[in-house]
């Protein structure tokens, strides 16, 4: 059984292995024991209530119950930009027009913004390639929505997710080449690395503060503004199906889109319902659906994916499922269909 649970200090070796399988491409999961240990500690302090809002970040792992392997990781930041500024470019429109001269032109313009300050963020999603089966990806990514639903008070009114922008196979980003490169002599990969190690604000402070007319950028750069890297497209599609939208905010380095949604309007948050557990040993009869099911504990938060049904506010779970969720007969759980196309 695959189960989502908060990360613990003991997960460090497992997390190092997971990071090694991700390679150098994932800057938010560096193969660096010290930094991973820090990340774990921050999460542990968040779950124990010791961290202040600016520090709060909740990290979850997907554990293979059969052998204890750390198969995936996902995280939620409670509120971004409270320690260091959180930067985006907002793609705005400026119109230059004169009826007298018969001039009318529209100009997309990049405005440096801190508009997302205080918003929550979905981040650090990685699933080991061996486990990219049996809807594990959906469980890993969407488990966070049940946490958001259950502990809404801890999070901002909006949730954002930064999507990787377009870069070629050598890691060159056309947007970076056209803009960032002029402002400091650094390769995109280096800026990307610094971002991953939490130095993004430093890098951002070197970027142009005044609005940038997109007209002044190369055609290649203009073409990738708000566009997602090919490998990230399934992730965007998943978030869009949950109600996330691109509202014109892009990453300041690679111009990848930031998608956003009101926390309470996310499909899996809004449609999630409470039910009480009924443990059944016999196979469930009738129509069964893939449901994300979580318990209601904070530090002991658990999520599983169960193919089952809800009848009269009761959810039918096998003893293994109930065990994985650490719940017993009659305990409350929160559940929602994995697919936005289905309802409970």
């Amino acid at each position: 059984m695959m189960v989502i649970r908060p990360i613990t200090r003991d997960d460090l070796p497992g997390l190092m292995k997971l990071a090694a399988s991700a390679g150098v491409g994932l800057t938010s999961l560096p193969i660096n024991e010290e930094r991973l240990a820090k990340r774990i500690l921050r999460s542990v302090r968040s779950f124990s209530g010791e961290a202040e809002l600016a520090e709060q970040g909740y990290v979850f792992v997907l554990e293979d119950g059969s052998n204890g392997t750390v198969a995936g990781i996902c995280a939620l930041e409670a509120a971004v930009g409270l320690h260091e500024p959180w930067y985006n470019y907002r793609v705005g429109t400026i119109v230059h027009a004169s009826e007298e001269l018969n001039v009318y032109s529209r100009h997309d313009t990049l405005f440096l913004s801190n508009d997302h300050t205080g918003y929550s963020e979905l981040c650090t999603l990685f699933l080991h390639p061996d486990y990219r089966v049996n809807r594990n990806g959906g469980l890993l990514s969407k488990s966070r929505f049940l946490f958001l639903a259950q502990f809404a008070d801890l999070f901002g009114k909006m949730v954002v997710a930064e999507m990787r922008g377009v870069s070629d196979s050598d890691g060159k980003s056309p947007f970076w080449e056209a803009l960032g490169r002029h402002f400091f002599s650094m390769e995109f990969a280096e800026a990307d690395y610094l971002t991953g190690v939490g130095q993004k604000a430093f890098v951002a402070e070197l970027m142009p503060k005044h609005p940038v007319y997109i007209d002044f950028l190369s055609p290649e750069a203009r073409a990738v503004i708000g566009k997602t890297h090919e490998n990230t497209r399934p992730a965007v599609a998943m978030l869009e199906s949950e109600g996330f939208r691109y509202e014109g905010y892009v990453d300041i380095f690679d111009a990848g889109p930031t998608v956003q949604a009101y926390t309470s309007e996310i499909r899996a948050v809004k449609q999630s319902v409470m039910a009480s557990v009924r443990v059944v040993t016999a196979p469930v009869e009738g129509e069964r659906k893939n449901l994300l099911v979580s318990n209601t504990q904070f530090e002991g938060f658990r999520v599983i994916l169960a193919e089952t049904t809800v009848v009269d506010n009761e959810i039918l779970l096998t003893p293994e499922e109930a065990h994985a969720l650490q719940v017993g007969e009659g305990d409350p759980v929160r559940c929602v269909t994995l697919s936005p196309k289905e309802t409970i």
Partner: protein
């Protein structure tokens, strides 16, 4: 003898001919008869007007004449932009620095500004090709002699816009990189729009945010602060006077805008007034210098041989006559630039 005097209504055909010959770029010499007539009228009333301390819309237009034929023209606008803002780009440096990242980058930025509004402006300069030598010097500097003699009519700072780089087809690399994106007009069309509308009117449609120079194509960057080859002579004349091409650019073609302190101009600082003494023959010490009377509407300036002896300016009868001066009346005298160059 070369003479500079205020323009008269009867000069209109000659002015019109020069407006055509000056081609694009000399926008204060519009190729439009009604506008030119209006300018001449404006000039006539400015010369007739008594000196007022608060300078305003006075526009002084001069012509260069030889043997009764008009071969050049130049103007002074007492207050650039008088009742509307005068736009220019100010060249600025932004330092993008980060101590933690050990990055220190200087970024060249063009910021639109009104800094030059209200300054005295030299404009509308044109001399027929045969008069590019002494004639040009007299024409250009006669304006400064006029200012020196009418100091109360003019403010402290003075500017002159130099035509920027464009090719024979009227393509300006600076315009193509910036203005064109906002207007979709050729540089020539814009020049025409300056005639039908004010330059300020057009300027208000230009991008309001700073332009990051590194984002511009190389041809446009190379055109910044450059002077069109046809303007080499006026440029040399003004830099010899102490004008500096430091910080300001024309927002349309990127040409240098020269600025100076009126009181520090070589002609203003080094010219002196002496009582006239008409003499049949001049001593061997006589040299060619620029001379002007102290009149307003009967202003005249010539390049003629003069000798300064015992605090008197010795000149021949014909020169005194052209200047409308008789014995004992003051004449303003200043050496040619070549004398200054010999000195140093």
């Amino acid at each position: 003898m070369l003479v500079v005097r205020p323009v008269r209504t009867s000069d209109l055909p000659a002015i019109e001919r020069m407006a055509v010959a000056s081609g694009i770029g000399v926008t204060s010499l519009p190729n439009d008869r009604d506008k030119l007539f209006e300018r001449i009228q404006q000039s006539a009333s400015a010369f007739e007007h008594e000196a007022v301390p608060d300078t305003g819309r006075e526009f002084y237009m001069f012509v260069l004449e030889e043997h009764g034929e008009v071969v050049g023209t130049a103007s002074i606008s007492a207050s650039a932009g008088f009742d509307e803002p005068f736009y220019s780009y100010r060249s600025e440096t932004f330092v993008h620095a980060s101590r933690p990242l050990k990055v220190n980058n200087r970024i060249h930025v063009l910021n639109i500004c009104h800094d030059l509004t209200g300054m005295v402006q030299l404009c509308g300069f044109y001399a027929d090709p045969a008069y590019r030598g002494l004639g040009s010097e007299l024409l250009s500097r006669a304006r400064l002699l006029f200012i020196a003699g009418q100091r109360e009519r003019f403010g402290k700072r003075i500017l002159a816009e130099m035509q920027g780089i464009h090719d024979e087809q009227g393509q300006s690399p600076f315009w193509n990189a910036i203005g064109r994106r906002f207007f979709n007009m050729d540089f020539i069309q814009v020049e025409q729009a300056f005639v039908s509308h004010s330059k300020t009117f057009i300027a208000e449609l230009m991008p309001a945010y700073p332009i990051y120079v590194p984002l511009l194509p190389d041809e446009a960057q190379n055109a910044i602060g450059q002077v069109h080859p046809d303007f080499e002579r006026p440029f040399m004349l003004l830099t010899s006077e102490g004008f500096e091409a430091d910080n300001y650019l024309d927002i349309f073609d990127g040409g240098a805008v020269l600025t100076a302190d009126v009181d520090r101009l070589w002609t203003v600082e080094c010219s002196g007034t002496y009582p006239v003494e008409v003499s049949v023959s001049l001593p061997p010490s006589a040299t060619t210098m620029l001379l002007s009377n102290g009149c307003t509407d009967r202003f005249a300036a010539v390049a003629a041989r003069v000798a300064l002896v015992n605090g008197m300016a010795l000149m021949t009868q014909d020169v005194a006559q052209v200047l409308a001066l008789s014995n004992g009346q003051p004449v303003r005298v200043v050496p040619l630039h070549e004398a200054k160059e010999k000195q140093s």
